[in-house]
């Protein structure tokens, strides 16, 4: 029977029922199918067979086979150990909407398993007209350009320190924005190209078009041709875009966002950044570092969601570093002056006064909104959180519609970070196409805020630990330390601080670690492994420090907040 079937398939590439050219693929039996091997009892080639048998087989295929496309013309034949499914032409095993950190990782992983994958990526230009290539927020208007510009600013500080170490550098040192911007922008463009080459090499089909759902399994490209792609498994990974404030006149016409900042060809000059997020503080930090007059306007607390004691230390350092802060203030309008400068009017909530000042650039960093406008999620039936607009997903990144998934910044309740999006994307591809059942673990995700004095953390903030366990059940070890490099350079280390939050009982598991200092990201990365493995305070104390470093101070923490003792580290 097998040979006959093979011969028949080889002779007639088309579906016996409708004549549609069929795409034949042999797939391994899905894990969850009942009884290994033979899948559909009684199913057979359709011609001459009862419709009911075909429908039963189709229903079971739809339930168990990840690649099954429910077309009217498709029919299934069971061969021991293989399940043969005919699908229509131009179908993909996976369609990924969004070519950013999560989308590309998911697509490339799926392609590794020999699947037909397509990626749609499209960048709607910002209101100021900025657009960019493949790679998503991280590559183009996020992590990458941010860290490079942060480095540019740090180098400025190093140049100032250098004199103390014997270098003759004429002061004051001068920074040219356009030189930095061009280098950064060129590097980003090389990453865009690198992603293009990678997709091509991994045989992932790439369309530079905006996708919109017509139904749960059809996505239409919003181009003149309106090309439609049908696919059973769809991953939405369109991320987010910066929000503009709604009630501030002139906000849209005259303000920019992080989308534009990194692509400016000319220096932003005297800048006002409105917002208290890490986007605001990081950008304000490097603008100050390269010598620009920079002001941050905050309505309430800095770095909401982060440990607030650490957040205060971060902003304190920025103030001593030269960034101006307008605390408890919110803007009411932005107007353009004849000189082309922008006049901003704001209310001071504490003093009840109204103030104004003029700037060359006003940047909004008041939050990011999920990019779902043109997706037409209603047509797919995908549910979103009514408040945030983000897509609701379960632990397996599945949305409210079977076989539509979502990963990355667009998902509700997930960290807005590149590594989590990438990991979630890879694991999703493995679950879909490679017999894996591993879910993404979102616990103890380390992160770092790249302000001039960096803040790295992993695990719970002190507030969250208190809320979860009660202040009597936690012990907070802390220390103020001075990086060795700061001493000769006569740098102020007042805000260099480490805090470790542990459980008080039994093995004293470490719940959270917080570090402010140079290279905080590099410091915290290693400790994140320890936290993941359930490291305890005694284990940390048994860990020998590397000398002389800042990180070793973590292994030496012994003063508790509870003791009230002075937590300043004394010499070695």
């Amino acid at each position: 029977m097998l040979r006959g079937l093979g011969a028949r398939l080889a002779r007639h590439g088309s579906c016996a029922l409708t004549g549609i050219i069929a795409h034949l693929r042999l797939l391994p039996p899905p894990r969850t199918a009942p009884g290994a091997g033979l899948l559909c009892a009684g199913a057979a080639l359709s011609r001459g067979k009862p419709k009911s048998a075909i429908i039963n087989c189709k229903n079971r295929c739809a339930k168990y086979c990840p690649s099954y496309i429910p077309l009217p013309s498709s029919w299934a034949v069971s061969i021991p150990f293989f399940h043969v499914v005919f699908t229509g032409k131009n179908e993909y095993d996976l369609l990924v909407i969004g070519g950013g950190s999560g989308g590309l990782a998911c697509a490339k992983e799926a392609a590794q398993f020999g699947r037909k994958v397509a990626v749609l990526d499209y960048v709607e230009p910002s209101p100021q007209g900025t657009a960019w290539g493949l790679g998503g927020t991280c590559v183009n208007v996020g992590c990458i350009p941010k860290k490079l510009m942060h480095q540019a600013a740090l180098l400025g500080s190093s140049l100032k320190d250098a004199q103390h170490y014997g270098w003759s550098i004429s002061q004051p040192v001068h920074h040219t924005w356009s030189v930095m911007a061009q280098s950064v922008q060129n590097y980003v463009k090389s990453l865009n190209w690198g992603h293009r080459v990678q997709l091509q090499e991994k045989k992932v089909k790439y369309f530079n078009i905006k996708g919109s759902f017509s139904d749960p399994h059809t996505v239409r490209g919003l181009t003149k041709a309106g090309k439609e792609v049908s696919c059973y498994n769809i991953v939405i990974a369109t991320g987010g875009r910066p929000k503009y404030p709604v009630h501030v006149a002139g906000a849209l016409e005259y303000g920019i966002t992080s989308d534009d900042l990194f692509w400016l060809k000319e220096s932003p000059g005297k800048t006002l950044i409105v917002g208290a997020s890490y986007v605001s503080l990081e950008c304000a930090g490097f603008l100050t570092g390269i010598g620009l007059d920079t002001t941050v306007m905050m309505r309430s607390i800095p770095l909401r969601g982060f440990d607030q004691q650490m957040a205060s230390l971060v902003t304190e350092h920025m103030e001593s570093y030269g960034t101006k802060f307008l605390k408890r203030c919110f803007p009411t309008k932005v107007e353009k002056l004849k000189s082309n400068r922008l006049q901003v009017t704001w209310k001071n909530a504490d003093l009840g006064t109204e103030e104004t000042d003029s700037f060359n650039t006003v940047m909004w960093a008041v939050g990011r909104a999920p990019d779902t406008k043109t997706l037409n999620l209603e047509a797919a039936g995908v549910k979103t959180n009514s408040e945030t607009g983000k897509i609701i997903v379960d632990a397996s990144e599945a949305t409210s519609v079977p076989h539509i998934y979502a990963i990355g910044d667009i998902t509700e309740g997930r960290p807005e970070l590149t590594p989590t999006a990438i990991a979630a994307g890879k694991l999703l591809a493995q679950r879909l196409f490679s017999q894996s059942s591993e879910l993404m673990d979102y616990d103890n995700v380390p992160t770092t805020v790249f302000t001039p004095l960096e803040y790295g953390c992993v695990g719970l903030s002190e507030e969250a630990a208190v809320q979860r366990h009660g202040s009597d059940n936690i012990e907070v070890y802390h220390a103020y330390y001075k990086p060795l490099e700061f001493t000769v350079a006569e740098r102020d280390a007042t805000q260099c601080y480490i805090k470790m939050v542990c459980l008080r009982e039994r093995e004293q598991r470490i719940l959270g670690l917080h570090f402010i200092g140079p290279n905080a990201g590099e410091v915290i990365q290693g400790f994140a492994l320890g936290i993941k493995c359930g490291a305890t305070y005694p284990q940390m104390m048994k860990t020998v420090g590397i000398h002389p470093t800042c990180a070793e101070e973590v292994t030496k923490l012994h003063i508790t907040k509870r003791s009230g003792l002075d937590a300043t580290v004394t010499g070695c």
Binding site: Y187, K189, W193, R196, V197, Q200
Partner: protein
């Protein structure tokens, strides 16, 4: 008007030629020198050249294709040669779009689809 090809040898001639076409899209293929029989000392260049030439018809109108012989093997191996220092070339063959970060290096040049992508995409 379609695209045109120019053949040059050595760094100074390459730079002069590229500058003379300033304002147009310039694509360049860098290969090792060829001997009297027309064979390059660089085996990868021998493989890549016909593949690249096969895709030349995809070049955009008004663009220029510069075929550049870099020098002999000894010159190329010198880590301070001008191509390495100034154009940041790391290997031959290299196919690049001049003035952009878009390039294909060594085995990447063997893939017709990648060459086509370099010629046709922004």
């Amino acid at each position: 008007m379609g695209w045109e090809e120019v053949q040059v040898r050595g760094y100074p001639e390459f730079v002069r030629t590229a500058q003379s076409y300033h304002g147009r899209a310039i694509f360049a293929l860098f290969c090792g020198d060829k001997d009297a029989e027309g064979r390059s000392w660089c085996p990868d260049c021998v493989t890549a050249e016909p593949i690249v030439r096969k895709e030349l018809h995809n070049l955009p109108d008004e663009s220029v294709f510069i075929y550049c012989l870099v020098g002999d093997r000894a010159y190329w191996k010198d880590p301070n040669n001008e191509f390495r220092k100034n154009l940041k070339l790391t290997g031959v063959p290299t196919l690049l779009k001049y003035g952009t970060p878009q390039k294909l290096v060594e085995e990447e040049c063997f893939k017709g689809e990648l060459v086509r992508m370099l010629f046709t995409e922004d």
